[in-house]
């Protein structure tokens, strides 16, 4: 790999925000002799390593969050330099925290990772009613819907979203992935979701596998 791309990737893995952004600016300025697309690819590769470290228990949520922040900042610089439509996209994911729940940390980590991996994200925010998920699926025709839920008392809302998608005739057209402290693999089976994500990195990997399929 090119020296500048290596340096940017290493800065991200060293959690060095300034270093990563300095390299990204150098790429955008044309001083590095590589394209912005090369830069985007390098950030995505670095995030793969971050995700692996997290899944292997070497890194923790704090590092995942900060690496995601560095990647997002670098991507903002690099993507501004890319012509619209030139980036290969993996598909769209509609994401939100279910009604009654206002927690967004896990959702936001997922958004950072999935966006950096190449997905277009429609982030509906927190406290999202089932009908809003249905409307977003109709409007954006996503590959997947991601439902986040931290609270045990709002876990029932996950089932409501799946029911609403079914009632609207949309369930066969979209995959549904769920995650959050209140949810489990068993819960995902109970509500007939397509997948349970124990963490944001695994969630991104699962949706990637759907995109490839």
């Amino acid at each position: 790999m090119h020296e500048t791309l290596d340096a940017m990737k290493q800065s991200l893995l060293d959690l060095d925000m300034d270093g990563a952004l300095t390299q990204a600016r150098s790429i955008v300025a044309g001083a590095a002799g590589v394209s912005a697309q090369d830069g985007v690819n390098a950030v995505a590769e670095a995030l793969q390593v971050v995700g692996k470290r997290f899944q292997d228990g070497e890194w923790f949520v704090g590092e995942l969050v900060y690496a995601g922040e560095i990647a997002t900042s670098a991507m903002q610089l690099l993507c501004a330099d890319l012509a619209a439509g030139t980036r290969p996209r993996l598909g769209t994911i509609v994401v939100g925290t279910v009604a009654g729940d206002v927690h967004d940390l896990g959702k936001n980590i997922f958004v950072n990772f999935a966006r950096s991996a190449g997905f277009d994200i429609v982030d509906l925010g927190v406290n999202v009613a089932a009908v809003q998920f249905v409307d977003a699926v109709k409007a954006h025709q996503p590959l997947a819907v991601g439902l986040s839920c931290l609270l045990t008392i709002t876990a029932g809302e996950v089932g409501k979203v799946l029911d609403a998608l079914g009632a609207a005739g949309l369930r066969d057209r979209v995959k549904v992935i769920i995650g959050g402290a209140a949810l489990t693999e068993q819960f995902a089976r109970d509500v007939a979701a397509d997948a349970f994500a124990p963490d944001a990195v695994t969630g991104t990997d699962i949706v990637k596998s759907w995109s490839a399929g």
Binding site: W59, V61, V102, L105, T152, A155, A182, D199
Partner: protein, 391 residues
């Protein structure tokens, strides 16, 4: 043995007559069920234009807030005693109801440390509150927040002392009131900023984070000292250090920023001749040895849906820590069968109770926990938790 002897014997890693039982927060929906009280739809009341300013004014009045909070805690201890628990958490907390255009109700709670709490229906006709974000996302905002609130912090400490003393006086002959100094130093550091901002500051402005930790450590020690002076036998501290799959922050970072603070906390409690239990949600396996090193006497919660297994924890820490937990609250104590609950109690007793050092409890608390199922838990403990253990 009475409840006090039973609980303290277990914490001393000796075998009492049976495994003691402890309740967690016990939400109002659960205490209403135990006491036969009807829920109060606070949100509906706050939607009424005439009542809204009156209620807001009342809740923001110290006298009313303290009276309301004591009444809630009193219901908790009454319920816990009636359920047959030997001990229960009691927490003093202080918030103000503030206008917020971004919230559908137009009102949110702000706590004294700078968190925003959203009001929401608890699904049982009452109210619940959930932390949603912080009000101090920059260094300047944090400095301004704490700089202007010193009298309020002092007031909170004084009111907490009165709150805990009254509860001990009212219930001390029926149940142990475990005084919980909450929120903890870690939570008070990051939640008023938000986790993303806090993480950014850890890497970009570590000296500022150290200053924040030092401020909250000093506050926490004063707060804890007030609770220790109120007559409680056991105190509870805590910080949610874990999430579903592991630690929120690298354990070495927690050690670097918080290790000395936690040691000061345990030293203070031990100087008073008391025990310190410690609550943390999430998967906290990587912290087990550190809890011992920090001087904590026992762990509370051990969240099974985050992979915490009582037997495994006991195997790892031996009798260096008492263990309090950990019946599932996602399914078991919400809609589990009597047989499932009995099996879970037997499993918990089998995994952790031999040699003492174990207290049976739910893993946590939320409004949908069913009082009938808590009674089944107590019944099973009466049957299977007798020493010598035979499960």
């Amino acid at each position: 043995m009475d409840f006090r002897q039973r609980f303290l014997t277990a914490l001393a890693h000796e075998e009492p007559d049976r495994v003691p039982l402890m309740g967690m927060i016990l939400d109002t929906a659960t205490t209403n069920q135990v006491l036969g009280k009807a829920p109060t739809d606070v949100i509906a009341l706050l939607r009424k234009p005439l009542l809204r300013p009156i209620l807001q004014g009342l809740m923001n009045n110290s006298w009313f807030w303290n009276r309301m909070y004591y009444s809630t805690a009193s219901d908790i201890l009454e319920s816990a005693a009636r359920l047959g628990f030997d001990a229960n958490w009691t927490i003093y907390f202080r918030m103000r109801l503030e206008a917020d255009a971004g919230n559908e109700l137009g009102l949110v709670f702000h706590d004294v440390w700078g968190r925003v709490w959203e009001l929401a229906p608890d699904g049982k006709g009452g109210l619940t509150t959930n932390y949603s974000r912080g009000l101090c996302s920059t260094e300047e905002q944090w400095e301004a927040w704490v700089g202007s609130r010193q009298p309020l912090f002092d007031r909170v400490i004084a009111d907490a002392a009165v709150f805990h003393r009254r509860l001990v006086e009212a219930y001390g002959d029926r149940i142990l009131s475990i005084g919980y100094a909450a929120p903890g130093i870690f939570e008070n550091s990051w939640q008023p900023m938000g986790f993303v901002e806090f993480t950014r500051l850890v890497y970009q402005k570590p000296d500022f984070v150290k200053r924040v930790v030092a401020f909250h450590t000093d506050f926490y020690l004063r707060y804890l000292e007030a609770i220790l002076g109120s007559g409680v036998d056991v105190v509870l501290g805590g910080d949610d250090l874990g999430q579903k799959t592991g630690p929120l922050m690298r354990p070495e970072l927690i050690e670097k920023f918080y290790g000395d603070s936690y040691r000061r906390v345990t030293n203070l409690v031990h100087r008073h001749g008391k025990k310190l239990l410690w609550h943390s949600c999430g998967n906290i396996y990587p912290f087990l040895d550190r809890f011992v090193d920090w001087g904590i006497d026992g762990l509370v919660t051990l969240e099974p849906t985050a992979g915490m297994d009582l037997g495994k924890v006991r195997e790892h820490v031996g009798h260096k820590l008492a263990l309090v937990g950990n019946l599932d609250v996602s399914h078991l104590l919400v809609n589990g069968t009597r047989e499932e609950i009995e099996d879970a109690v037997k499993n918990a007793v089998r995994g952790a109770a031999r040699g003492g050092g174990y207290v049976l409890s739910a893993a946590h608390s939320h409004p949908h926990i069913d009082a009938t199922r808590l009674r089944w838990m107590v019944d099973a403990a009466q049957q299977w938790g007798r020493y010598p253990i035979r499960v």
